[in-house]
């Protein structure tokens, strides 16, 4: 079972994001970066498959600047075998389509039984790359995967996915693209021996030219803005509770216009 895990490095969820004064992006100074949490589920699932079938390989595939090696190295520390890092200036701030193109080109060079993506990245929240990648490679895809069972002959998989209010079970032939959802598994800790071993694992560096592609972005952001600051609340003091309730309800209706 050879799994390709598409992995993105994103700002830690606890980071306070600030928009640059000129609105062209976010301020990246001082941001702590982590593996996109949904991609961590992918890494874990791929490792479990390799352990179960006692054969195969887990390859991490990342597009992004230099800092992303740390995310790849973390996945290698968890147990993945090697990494492919597509690092190209032209791809910084790429849109989902360009990313999917790059991933498709790299995946085609590499070969695979399964491709994992996170169902979305928690930074820009597009949730499009997995689906586009499957289309570009003309592969079947199952999104929002919460359970995966590979058939013993490794020709197909039974997959459980989230649907509104319940679960859907789908049988899918391999190779295919799966996008991971919370609940799929509990990712392991990178162990200390794993971290030390990962230092020696290979990360192949590639440029867009190595993959024979030029990015064809379909989307370009025009401006980034912060959500409006919350206004200070209003206090209703020194009155009888019944009276206060009446005034508050009236204010919610006529001033705030929320009820």
């Amino acid at each position: 079972m050879k799994s390709l895990v598409c992995l993105k490095q994103v700002p830690d969820t606890e980071t306070q994001i600030k928009v640059k004064p000129d609105g062209t992006g976010i301020v990246t100074d001082g941001i702590k970066y982590v593996i996109n949490p949904y991609d961590e589920f992918s890494v874990e699932e791929a490792l479990r498959l390799k352990e179960k079938f006692k054969a195969g390989e887990v390859v991490i595939l990342t597009v992004g600047p230099d800092r992303c090696t740390e995310a790849i190295r973390t996945a290698l520390a968890m147990g993945a075998d090697r990494g492919i890092h597509v690092n190209d200036e032209s791809l910084n701030d790429a849109d989902p389509y360009s990313i999917a193109q790059v991933l498709a080109a790299a995946a085609s060079q590499e070969g695979y039984d399964l491709i994992f993506c996170g169902h979305r990245a928690i930074d820009d929240d597009f949730g499009e790359v997995g689906a586009m990648l499957a289309e570009l490679l003309q592969l079947p895809q199952v999104t929002l995967v919460t359970k995966l069972e590979i058939a013993d002959d490794t020709q197909s998989a039974v997959v459980e996915r989230d649907v509104e209010g319940g679960k859907e079970v789908i049988e899918v032939p391999l190779p295919c693209v799966l996008t991971s959802q919370k609940g799929l598994n509990e990712p392991r800790y990178a162990s200390l021996p794993g971290i030390m071993k990962a230092k020696k694992k290979k990360i192949d560096k590639k440029t867009a030219a190595d993959l024979g592609i030029t990015s064809e972005r379909k989307l370009a952001p025009t401006e980034y803005t912060m959500p409006p600051e919350r206004k200070a609340g209003k206090k209703y003091e020194d009155m009888e509770p019944a009276e206060a309730a009446k005034i508050v309800v009236e204010a919610l209706r006529s001033e705030a216009k929320v009820i």
Binding site: T69, T74, Y189, A190, L192, P193, I195, A198, K199
Partner: protein, 380 residues
């Protein structure tokens, strides 16, 4: 944390994230309960072993993972960040119990006494301090008398971290003449007849670690459990203290850092006389003093760790770092409680525990006075 770039590389950052997550999931949700209970579940040793934390810095052929001193700094910092110094001290008591075995033991002894501890199957303690005295290591009274292939050991030890549950104790005993030349180290199996935990000690802080008074009455210990030559243990014990002092220094700096962080949060939120506490210059300046002391202490400790890492002998400086950091930790924690007012005295607030946990740091692993004795011998 800022300014660590010189000392911490990629593998340290990844390790920090891994330990932090372990602490977040496996420790923090339960830590208040464990503090009150006076111990943590035994299977935490197993969990920490499984991710290789216990084996940090030990040779691979014993089941450890070779790592540098800054990986150990990271581990100490992040375990301390659980908010329970006791937990960090208890979980890592092997950090003081095993180094003498590694330094003085034979291959066979290392295999027998180190591997099971790194696997999380056995708990290890270090037993030096006696009711009659701790600082004066050369005056150890617990006596081991040779009887054929064994020693018969009689005496008592006190304030032994992890001692209530330990499976083995690296025990300082007197095998010969008075003074430092008569001291040996034996690894004692706590299941041996005559070995008893006479008391689980109740403490000011470090609640989550069990601390024991131990009694040994005619305990038979095979000679093959002796580390090194008879009567040669004193310098092994003393060397061992260097690492312990670095751990305690790092723990002090981290404890102080947490007290500062709690105080910053609290001072922004709490209002008095119609403005937040940060609106008072006296509070702002106090916070600045705290931050300054911590910054200086931490940078000095890192620098010394880097020098030790590079192979330099830093006995004097690491002793200074321990005195300095423990003192600053006490002062910062005192200020942190002050900023919290009455709430700082309440158990629901972390600073209450940090304040209590801080006090041990200028006592354990050699008191500040003993540190000064060591330094004065070097500089005078």
């Amino acid at each position: 944390m800022s300014g660590n770039l010189d000392y911490f590389g990629e593998s340290h950052r990844i390790f920090r994230q891994s330990v932090a997550r372990f602490v977040e999931r496996e420790i923090k949700p339960y830590v208040d309960e464990w503090e009150e209970a006076g111990e943590f579940p035994r299977d935490l040793y197993q969990k920490a072993a499984d991710v290789g934390f216990l084996g940090i810095g030990y040779p691979e052929n014993l089941g450890g993972t070779e790592a540098d001193l800054f990986h150990e700094v990271v581990l100490t910092e992040e375990l301390t960040r659980s908010g329970s110094g006791g937990l960090a001290a208890g979980l890592m008591s092997l950090g003081i119990a095993l180094p003498p075995i590694l330094a003085l033991g034979t291959e066979e002894q290392k295999e027998r006494f180190i591997r099971p501890v790194l696997r999380g199957e056995k708990i290890a303690s270090l037993g030096i301090t006696e009711p009659g005295g701790g600082s004066d290591v050369a005056s150890v009274r617990t006596r081991a008398v040779r009887d054929g292939d064994s020693y018969i050991v009689n005496g008592s030890k006190t304030m032994i971290t992890s001692g209530c549950r330990a499976d083995q104790v690296t025990l300082a005993v007197r095998t010969g003449e008075a003074g430092h030349r008569g001291i040996s180290l034996l690894v004692v199996d706590t299941n041996s007849p005559g070995f008893t935990v006479s008391k689980k000690l109740r403490k000011m802080g470090w609640w989550a670690s069990d601390t024991a008074e131990l009694a040994l009455q005619d305990v038979r210990v095979p000679v093959e459990n002796r580390l090194g030559q008879e009567g040669s243990a004193f310098y092994g014990i003393m060397r061992n203290f260097q690492k312990e002092r670095l751990y305690l220094t790092v723990m002090a700096n981290t404890t102080a850092q947490m007290a500062l962080e709690e105080s910053l949060k609290y001072a922004r939120l709490r209002e008095a006389f119609g403005k937040p506490l940060t609106g008072f210059q006296v509070t702002r300046h106090k916070l600045v003093d705290m931050a300054t002391m911590i910054e200086v202490s931490r940078e000095f400790a890192y620098r010394m760790a880097a020098k030790i890492q590079a192979g330099e002998n830093k006995v004097k400086e690491i002793s200074m770092a321990k005195i300095f950091s423990a003192d600053i930790c006490d002062r910062v924690c005192h200020m942190a409680v002050q900023i919290h007012g009455g709430y700082g005295y309440m158990r629901e607030y972390l600073v209450e525990r940090l304040y209590r946990d801080s006090r041990i740091l200028s006592i354990g692993g050699g008191t500040s006075e003993i540190m000064k004795e060591i330094i004065s011998k070097i500089i005078l």
